[in-house]
């Protein structure tokens, strides 16, 4: 009886992590149609940034903001130098972003060696619900995830910038004709996507080990989540994170955890095949 609430709670926490690592991809893959194979490396940049800034004595929240800023800047730089030349060209984008991912990983390796870094938990202790104890930081993660989704939704649907990004997505040429500076908007939205990945890296850094190749583990996860959520929908992605994490977590409570992952991944493949517009979005023409 007691096992299910634990699984559900862990699932909620895992969903928040998944949501955080995927939300940047909603912008970059969903709205800009760029398949960014370096997504995981921006998570890695965020994780290293938060580690470095904490080592320098900065409090964790500020370090996390710094991580966001650093990843956003690196992302914007990549967009300016590389990505912008390959819009709407899938194969070149894949190759170029893979090159970026290799380069970023190697730079991290040269700067910090392959040694694993640890970031201490910014909040310790835990909450107990009944007889169960959950680490306090888990709730921080959940809160940050909720905040980020609200923030991005507000940005996209309430501000001028959001309107511009959506306008470009729907009709680039028309947007240009209407006087939107598409080049700047592209750089900002790509930077924003990378920045959010960096923030995710910062938030998960205390939970995991920080090392140069840590990002690659999140690439498939974030693609899966975004696609199941309907590619360009923040709410859909939130729901997809929940669905994927909860099902992995609950299944994992009954069978081998790897088997659970395999089953969920196969489910995702089926979604990709039969509902490429995601489970939660309205059917498009």
């Amino acid at each position: 009886m007691a096992i299910l609430p634990i699984q559900l709670m862990n699932g909620l926490f895992a969903a928040s992590v998944l949501l955080l690592v995927s939300i940047g991809m909603v912008i970059i893959f969903g709205n800009m149609n760029v398949v960014n194979l370096a997504h995981g490396e921006f998570i890695m940049i965020g994780a290293y940034a938060v580690w470095g800034l904490c080592e320098l004595g900065l409090p964790f929240p500020f370090a996390a903001i710094g991580a966001f800023a650093l990843a956003a800047m690196v992302g914007a730089l990549c967009e300016r130098l590389v990505i912008k030349r390959f819009y709407a060209r899938l194969e070149e984008t894949l190759l170029a972003t893979y090159a970026i991912s290799v380069i970023l990983t190697q730079i991290a390796r040269l700067l910090f060696s392959s040694m694993k870094k640890l970031v201490s938990l910014p909040v310790s202790g835990g909450f107990s619900i009944g007889t169960l104890v959950f680490p306090a930081y888990n709730f921080v993660v959940i809160a940050v995830a909720v905040f980020v989704v609200l923030f991005v939704c507000a940005l996209f649907y309430k501000t001028d910038l959001g309107k511009k990004i959506r306008a470009i997505r729907q009709n680039r040429q028309m947007a240009q004709c209407l006087g939107i500076n598409t080049a700047v908007t592209d750089t900002i939205s790509f930077g924003l996507g990378c920045g959010l990945a960096g923030l995710a890296g910062a938030i998960i850094a205390p939970l995991k080990i920080v090392y140069p190749a840590m990002g690659s583990a999140y690439l498939m996860d974030s693609f899966s989540t975004v696609v199941v959520g309907g590619v360009d929908s923040f709410v859909g992605t939130a729901m997809a994170s929940g669905l994927i994490s909860e099902s992995t977590s609950v299944l994992g409570g009954f069978i081998n955890e790897i088997h659970a992952q395999i089953i969920v991944l196969i489910g995702i493949v089926l979604v990709l095949r039969f509902r490429p517009n995601g489970l939660f979005s309205k059917e498009k023409r």
Partner: protein, 352 residues
């Protein structure tokens, strides 16, 4: 004014490059010690793998990020078959397995094992291809789905330790044997090179048929092909299965030459590496794939000894340079010096 077709002028240049490559491979053992010969014998199967990627991506335009799936399955089946044909592998014994598991019993016959190492990946690819290559799935999603499948396989291989040796892989795989005689390092080198040459010949013949033209047509304008009456899906599935067979064969050769297999042979990074070899060499020429594979693997083995990990940085930079400056690849650029009408083509492609 009559404009000659640049493709026709290429043929002597391409033949010259092929002869050059072949001469290099034939003469290499004369210049190197056994250690280096063995290293090169491990690269040649990867060249066959690169051919399979080129058929699929370079000729037909299907960018699979899971080509390591047939390669890895082929390699694993070959390795396990080699192990169980002489007894119970040590990794199985550590899990208390005292007789060959029922699923592996057919593999105790080395010939049947070899056949299954090619047939099973083909069968799998046939099923995946039928589901995936129907034209209802956009290009990006084909790449993503194949990537996910390769993740599934890697998870499964890592997890099924009793059967696959988990992250340690399968070891103690012997080199190929002919007529009861296990090949020496040099003999194996020429054996692998012979099979690679045959594979190349078959690929070259296949791509020069009308089927090759249909595939090229699918690559540039898939939609139009259907409206002149070709069933695009069956062509795509055919080449997908064919290239899987090739990849599986490369996997078998690789496993038998290296003497071991590990889960990384099924993963994304091998698939992407092969795509990079083909991109660097130039897609859609076969020769480009061979050359790119040889060049990058050769460089890797030389450079990694000198600058260590930083080699990967070099790879990243090379790849960026290729994408920016020589999008047709090194060999591709050498072979096709065609007039600059790129912009126009792009527009048409977008309209089509």
């Amino acid at each position: 004014m009559k404009k000659p077709n640049p493709r026709l002028k290429n043929i002597p240049r391409r033949a010259a490059m092929n002869v050059l490559l072949l001469t290099f491979i034939l003469l290499y053992p004369l210049t190197a010690g056994l250690y280096r010969i063995d290293i090169m014998a491990k690269v040649i199967p990867l060249m066959v793998f690169a051919l399979s990627v080129d058929l699929l991506w370079g000729y037909t335009g299907i960018m699979s990020l899971g080509q390591a799936v047939p390669f890895g399955i082929g390699a694993y089946i070959a390795a396990i078959s080699n192990n169980v044909s002489v007894g119970i592998p040590s990794y199985m014994r550590t899990y208390g397995i005292t007789e060959v598991p029922a699923v592996f019993r057919p593999l105790t016959n080395p010939y049947l094992g070899m056949a299954l190492a090619i047939l099973i990946p083909c069968l799998l690819s046939f099923v995946i291809g039928r589901l995936l290559l129907t034209g209802k799935v956009r290009g990006v999603f084909v790449s993503l789905i194949t990537m996910a499948l390769s993740n599934v396989l890697m998870l499964a291989v890592n997890n099924a330790q009793r059967f696959t040796g988990g992250s340690n892989g399968v070891n103690n795989v012997s080199r190929p044997s002919l007529f009861g005689h296990v090949l020496s390092i040099t003999e194996n080198y020429y054996f692998v090179a012979l099979i690679a040459a045959l594979a190349f010949a078959v690929c070259a013949a296949l791509t020069s048929t009308k089927l090759g033209k249909v595939l090229g047509a699918i690559k540039v304008n898939e939609n139009r092909v259907a409206f002149i009456g070709y069933n695009v899906t069956s062509y795509k599935v055919f080449i997908y299965v064919f290239s899987s067979a090739l990849a599986a064969m490369a996997g078998i050769l690789y496993a038998r030459t290296c003497g071991m297999v590990s889960p990384s042979l099924t993963g994304l990074s091998l698939s992407i590496s092969a795509i990079i070899w083909v991109a660097v060499g130039g897609r859609g020429h076969l020769t480009g794939a061979l050359f790119g594979c040889l060049l990058l693997n050769g460089l890797e083995r030389i450079m990694a000894g000198i600058i260590g990990d930083a080699w990967e940085l070099v790879i990243g930079v090379i790849l960026l340079l290729i994408v920016f400056c020589v999008p047709d690849g090194l060999v591709g650029t050498l072979l096709t010096a065609r007039p600059k009408v790129k912009g126009l083509q792009k527009k048409e492609a977008a309209n089509g």
